[in-house]
């Protein structure tokens, strides 16, 4: 069980590499510039949502970027929630 974390904007190679390694129901946490993948109306958001992932977004980074963390596309987590994800999923893959 893998927790994928993405800290790169959709124009970065990390974004495409990450998406290629994921299948529906895989778990992805967006943090840092990774949160821009959920900008409403953006191509990144479309690509991401099409994957039907179990999607999380780090609340503080979403707010820093000017995104609404609770817009329904992803589950917002704080740092406590991030740690909880790593408890549940023993392996992490960092994409950046």
């Amino acid at each position: 069980m893998i927790l994928h974390t993405l800290n790169a904007a959709p124009s970065e190679p990390a974004f495409a590499d990450c998406l290629r390694a994921l299948q529906p129901r895989d778990t992805l946490l967006l943090l840092g510039d990774g949160v821009y993948a959920l900008l409403p109306g953006s191509a990144g958001r479309q690509a991401l949502l099409a994957r039907q992932l179990e999607l999380y977004i780090l609340e503080s980074d979403a707010r820093a970027a000017g995104l609404d963390p609770a817009d329904g596309a992803a589950q917002a987590v704080d740092m406590d929630g991030f740690v909880a994800l790593t408890e549940r999923l023993p392996t992490q893959m960092a994409w950046y």
Binding site: T5, N7, A8, A14, L31, G32, D33, L58, S60, D61, M79, D80, G81, F82, V83, A84, T86, E87, R88, P90, Q92, A94, Y96
Partner: protein
């Protein structure tokens, strides 16, 4: 979510402290993990991450300073903060031993950090139940 009490974590930090989010996120994660009752075996700083150990880094007063965040957390929880030796040397961060060996005048590392080889990272993952990486 239920807390799986008492896991052993190590962290691998590759983000430069002055750019990106990773170093600050890693500190906050460490704080969060400790708050949930976990133990942090070691924090290993590799590649650009090692730049955080520079004692002389000065940040603007209106910004969080990753060096201070790490050293404050290390002081309260006796965290082991280890810089990869080759990453640190390339970035001008030397302890007294390395400064003497390479004939540099003085140590430039903050005293909260130590310098070691990659074996300490390998040991971190064999001795921990979780390794969480922070990059970018």
């Amino acid at each position: 979510m239920r807390s799986a009490a008492g896991l052993i974590y190590s962290l691998l930090v590759m983000s430069h402290p002055a750019s990106g989010h990773g170093s600050r996120t890693a500190v906050a994660f460490a704080r969060g993990a400790l708050a949930r009752g976990h133990r942090i075996h070691r924090v290993f700083f590799l590649d650009d991450g090692a730049a955080v150990g520079a004692a002389g880094a000065v940040f603007p007063q209106d910004e969080e300073n990753p060096l201070e965040l790490w050293t404050a957390l290390a002081a309260t929880h006796s965290l082991e903060l280890v810089l990869c030796v080759s990453s640190a040397l390339r970035r001008g961060i030397l302890d007294t031993g390395e400064a003497a060996r390479h004939e540099r005048g003085t140590a430039t590392i903050h005293r909260a950090f130590t310098i070691a080889g990659l074996g300490q990272l390998v040991d971190a993952w064999t001795s921990s139940e979780r390794l969480v990486t922070f990059g970018g």
